[in-house]
Point group: C2
Chain length 289, copies 2
């Protein structure tokens, strides 16, 4: 009997270990599909999105600045006051809107005016976000930060004329950054549901600072910064069959990835969280005092 | 004097090593910019393109098959006989053509009919390819192979409804594969210029098999396969701050990358080389026998 018990215990241990193995490492899955919104699952999604952002940073850094794309004075689009990147981005969003991109609450358009309807009629998403708050959109700030502050740090100066490939790369990267930053809505909703009594007084008092403090975890942020820098090293290395060790050279400066997160991605995510929470009680039945 | 000589020799050795250090690792640069088309520089470009292909394979593998995108019977585009992916791809090419994508001889459209002109008027590329041969386009074969053979191996079955993000991912990956495969034109032109006397009789005899043999280097191909598999491992790993060693799990199966190259990318590149060479003497003044 004693021996059987040991065997059963060993089997159970092996099985649980197997479960753990299967569960890690974590794949990025759309939480809209699994429906399992928890602080952990939302963080897992954010972790997976880091990889996408790093790949796209590397891809954009292959091209020089190509500033004519961004400067209206070059009149790249004759007769139009927009820059070429604005023109191309808007056209891309129009195409992707037809494929239903912006029905997905994880996606936020940069040019939301006059987007066409989706040709897909039957795709619906479960409602997780509080509808009056789900419209928070900081893409104009992301746009400004990206082109005016971050991009000149990422790429070398110069113009190789590859405007189509460069702009496609900008669009992919900006969409990944926008998705990451607007995921703050999901973070905020999860946190609110976990402790509404903590948030409600601050929301009613419109106390942005107190909300920001409640949402800030310095240790967590520092861990994210170290992790994305490591991803910059791992994904940005030059791989050859010969080298047995790292060359110490990378396709992008890994510390730039942690800078991007420290200065812009994480603060903007928290801005989204605060903006979302400030609207979290809109449309709710008011409590009788 | 002997000591000075040794010092000078050491300095020269240090300097040449420094040059070597600076030259490696190799950055992917557009050869159209540098103008330095040699077999080595073309191979360097192909090596850089491998990284892009691996990143995009990983990105596409985040989504399940989402087969409704590819099946006309679902009538995702009401009133139109095309699949949703065809519709979206063509629309994307129309937008990118306006940004001058297809003025670049490195880029080959999948839907070349009725593409609009570029809004950029002053971008020209130096002519390196032989014009009558530069129109070789095997994108219909790449399309067929990708959707009917490769994609089902890459992704898990299922449908998460993320058609816009999935199709954007397909388009980026197909464009990277197409660019890589059509680089065969540049490979063929470089090889032809290095030894026209070897190629001309075979071209005049339309001897495809002999041309294919002349273009095939088994050892080189095996090296590429090992390298892209290694890239699948390096770029496809799950990075966390805790693990000190590899988990042995990857976001895509690394052997699938070498399979992709062995079965499709390298053979199709050589097909492009052969097709290009067969047109390489078109329009040239005929030799008097």
């Amino acid at each position: 009997m004693g021996r059987s018990l040991v065997l059963i215990m060993l089997a159970v241990m092996a099985f649980s270990r197997c479960i753990i193995c299967m569960a890690t490492p974590v794949e990025e899955r759309s939480l809209l599909e699994t429906g399992e919104f928890t602080l952990d699952s939302v963080r897992q999604s954010l972790t997976g999105q880091e990889d996408t952002i790093v790949y796209r940073l590397i891809e954009r850094a292959k091209f020089p600045l190509n500033s004519r794309l961004y400067d209206q004075k070059y009149e790249l689009v004759p007769g139009s006051p927009v820059t070429l990147i604005q023109f191309l981005f808007k056209q891309t969003e129009i195409v992707q809107a037809k494929a239903g991109r912006y029905l997905n609450p994880e996606e936020t358009p940069f040019f939301p005016e006059n987007l066409p309807p989706s040709v897909i009629q039957d795709r619906t998403y479960p409602v997780f976000l509080h509808p009056p708050a789900s419209s928070v959109n900081v893409n104009n700030i992301i746009w400004d930060v990206y082109f005016n502050k971050f991009l000149p740090l990422l790429v070398k100066p110069g113009d190789d004329g590859n405007y189509a490939a460069t702009s496609a790369s900008d669009i992919e990267l900006l969409q990944a950054l926008s998705r990451r930053i607007h995921y703050g809505k999901f973070v905020a909703e999860v946190k609110y549901r976990e402790a509404p009594h903590e948030y409600e007084p601050l929301i009613r008092a419109k106390d942005r600072n107190a909300l920001m403090n409640l949402l800030t975890f310095k240790k967590q942020e520092e861990m994210v910064m170290r992790r994305v820098e490591k991803k910059g090293m791992v994904f940005g290395q030059y791989v050859s069959l010969n080298d047995t060790e790292s060359t110490g050279k990378y396709k992008i400066d890994p510390s730039l990835v942690s800078q991007l997160y420290e200065k812009w991605v994480m603060p903007l995510t928290k801005d989204v969280e605060v903006e979302y929470l400030l609207k979290r009680l809109d449309g709710e039945q008011k409590q009788v005092p």
